[in-house]
């Protein structure tokens, strides 16, 4: 079996000097907490047909069988069958399922974190209908409990849980946000006691794409709807989600939830950030323990709704032939397929779709925290080759997406491959082409 166990063992979460036995016990405890009827059914339903491999860009790029999606949960399938399945005593008695070992888990860190974006393409191809990506997310929870979350993700998650932002910065994000408003000449409503919409921002945008932050504020201002950012609930990303720390994910989500409640928001707007959308839209209420008293909407779908309602008017963008990368968490796993296309159509964009688009789009390769894992870069670039080929094949002059992490991944690849395709933000394009609706200034 190929892999990088040596690299893996050097990349454990800090403060995790555990014995191998304690590590395995932690993983098994973490996974046992996850096993409900649904995940057990998913594990039992696998017929080892291997078709999920053909949905995964890591396998397609490398033809390395270890990247077969269902194989990425093998230790946990093994543990489930041995410990909790209907005939677990029989499996143990006949030795059909061996005990999971610490070495096995250490190797699987590479498979569960470096080589999986949790993009869900495998879940779409499985003839048994198994949501493999959901199983991988649960396996990440177990790895976190075993102290096997990659260091980069673990540290950012710990910092975000503690302080609200994933990294210490000389200039806190709150101050950076205010500075962005000044730089781009746009009002940044901050800590308003009440607002219809609460906005948050991707850390990626604050650090790398300040124009996207300004675009978000500009569009909301244009729509003349009351909105606010909140100092104590500013960052959209959830590194707890990436690292597999379920309780940390809950704590990080709760920060935003409590701020939205505090300002009596009707809608929490998730900016262009795919996984932040998944964490808040499809998982936050479960972790919070009750339905959220407000709606969660992606900025893309919110703007498309405003467009449909006639409150948002857009002019021709004039960007020539354009192609669009569908962020997995928003489109395949989130169902936001039509909204970006409606916005592009309203701007008169000549959209040339990628060969694999919509729900079938290939991930950018950076999702699921992979972009943050330094050692994963070579593998990520291999998956990117196929994606960039698809982009080139469209003949597009402009390349858009609606997720800042995807954009950052493409930016990084552009440098690595010396590509001429610069990814741009759909939100920024919308902000650049606003037309005053009737009765509005």
């Amino acid at each position: 079996m190929s892999g990088n166990t040596a690299a893996v063992s050097a990349n454990l979460a800090p403060a995790e000097a555990r014995t191998p036995e304690a590590r395995v016990a932690g993983a098994m405890r973490g996974f046992a907490q996850e096993i409900g009827a649904l995940s057990a059914f998913r594990l039992e339903s696998c017929i080892h047909c291997g078709i999920c491999a053909d949905g995964c860009h890591f396998y397609i790029a490398t033809e390395d069988p270890q990247y077969t999606p269902i194989w990425k949960v093998e230790p946990f399938k093994q543990a489930y069958k041995r410990e909790s399945s209907a005939f677990a005593p029989l499996f143990r008695l006949l030795g059909l399922k061996r005990e999971v070992t610490a070495d096995q888990l250490a190797h699987w860190q590479h498979l569960l974190f470096d080589s999986c974006n949790m993009c869900g393409r495998c879940s779409l191809i499985c003839p048994m209908g198994i949501d493999v990506a959901a199983l991988i997310e649960q396996a990440r929870h177990a790895m976190f409990e075993a102290g096997l979350a990659p260091q980069e993700l673990y540290l950012k998650a710990a910092h975000q849980r503690e302080t609200g932002q994933p990294e210490a910065r000389a200039e806190p994000y709150r101050d950076k946000l205010v500075a962005i408003g000044t730089q781009f000449g746009v009002e940044i409503p901050l800590d308003e006691p009440e607002a219809e919409l609460m906005l948050c921002v991707p850390r990626t945008d604050i650090e790398h794409y300040p124009k996207a932050v300004a675009a978000l504020a500009r569009v909301m201002r244009h729509l003349n709807v009351s909105h606010t950012f909140r100092s104590d609930g500013l960052v959209a990303e959830n590194y707890g989600y990436f690292a597999g720390g379920k309780s940390w994910q809950r704590d990080i989500s709760r920060r935003l939830i409590e701020q939205a409640i505090a300002c009596k928001a009707k809608i929490l707007i998730v900016p262009e950030c795919g996984h932040a959308y998944s964490a808040l839209r499809w998982e936050a209420a479960d972790l919070y323990g009750k339905p959220l008293p407000f709606k969660v909407r992606s900025v893309t779908e919110f703007l498309a709704e405003e467009l449909q309602a006639g409150r948002l008017k857009l002019g021709a963008a004039g960007v020539g032939v354009t192609t669009f990368h569908d962020p997995c968490q928003l489109v395949r796993k989130g169902g936001i397929n039509d909204a970006p296309r409606a916005l592009m159509k309203a701007m008169g964009i000549d959209l040339h779709e990628l060969k694999n688009h919509g729900g079938f789009s290939f991930c950018c390769g950076g999702g699921g925290g992979v972009l943050d894992i330094e050692r994963a870069a070579p593998l990520r670039y291999r998956t990117m080759e196929n994606k960039l080929r698809e982009v080139d094949d469209t003949g597009a002059r402009t390349f858009l997406t609606s997720c800042s992490d995807c954009r950052r991944t493409f930016d990084d690849a552009q440098t690595h491959f010396n590509s001429d395709k610069t990814p741009h933000s759909l939100l920024e394009l919308v902000a650049d082409n606003l037309i005053a609706a009737e009765g509005r200034p």
């Binding site: 339903s45 017929i47 291997g50 879940s123 191809i125 339905p291 796993k333 729900g359």
Partner: protein, 219 residues
């Protein structure tokens, strides 16, 4: 008691009992685990979600066009031998008589010559399936005892059935006894291994399809 009498008498009764209890236990075991309620606001109504689930039962039967180039051949092989097995099991005259004795229900059969052709084809496809499993790097890596034993026991039923029909390898009664005995063995193994997918496949597709439809996502 001769082999045939045992196979179709006590042996069959035992096998059916193991099959029924085992299958029910495998399904009940899920119900003993907790079922979490999804508290997140759905995008689609419950009716649409259920509809999406039902739709997925059909749409997952064949790969989406985006995937077919990579998976079409493997899936065609898989479905072909399944169809062959269904035809032989359900449309061969003596099998229908057997089911009639169990359930009191019979239906028209295919001519024996057609069944023979289908059986030989199914046998060949089954060999191809094994060849693919041991030569394809992904399948070889994923495969375990369950995969090979389930293949072996199903193949045993096919081979003994072909031998009994063609009267090759011994007296007809002995061959028929071995055929029914191998079927008994398959029934006993059924609840313990991957053959259970016969019960899981449609609910699994429906559940995933329904959960994706709840989010407004394609399935």
């Amino acid at each position: 008691m001769d082999l045939l009498s045992f196979a179709r008498g006590a042996g069959l009764k035992f096998a059916l009992a193991v099959f029924c209890v085992g299958v029910v236990w495998r399904i009940v075991a899920f119900a003993l685990l907790r079922i979490r309620r999804d508290l997140n606001e759905p995008r689609a109504s419950m009716l649409k979600s259920l509809g999406g689930g039902l739709l997925a039962v059909g749409t997952r039967s064949w790969p989406h066009p985006e995937f077919i180039g990579r998976t079409g051949a493997g899936e065609a092989l898989g479905y072909s031998y399944h169809l062959g097995l269904f035809a032989v099991v359900l449309l061969f005259g003596p099998h229908i008589t057997f089911f009639g004795s169990l359930f009191g229900l019979t239906w028209p059969a295919l001519p024996s010559s057609v069944i023979t052709v289908i059986s030989v084809l199914t046998f060949t496809l089954f060999l191809a399936v094994l060849f693919r499993r041991v030569t394809h790097p992904v399948l070889r890596m994923l495969s375990n005892f369950d995969d090979y034993f389930s293949w072996f026991i199903t193949m045993l039923v096919i081979v003994t059935g072909l031998a009994a029909t063609a009267h090759i390898g011994g007296p007809y009664e002995t061959l028929l006894g071995l055929h029914i005995l191998s079927f008994d063995a398959l029934l006993v193994w059924f609840p313990f291994g991957k053959l259970m997918h016969a019960f899981y496949i449609f609910p699994s597709r429906a559940i995933n399809g329904s959960l994706l439809a709840r989010k407004g996502a394609i399935s």
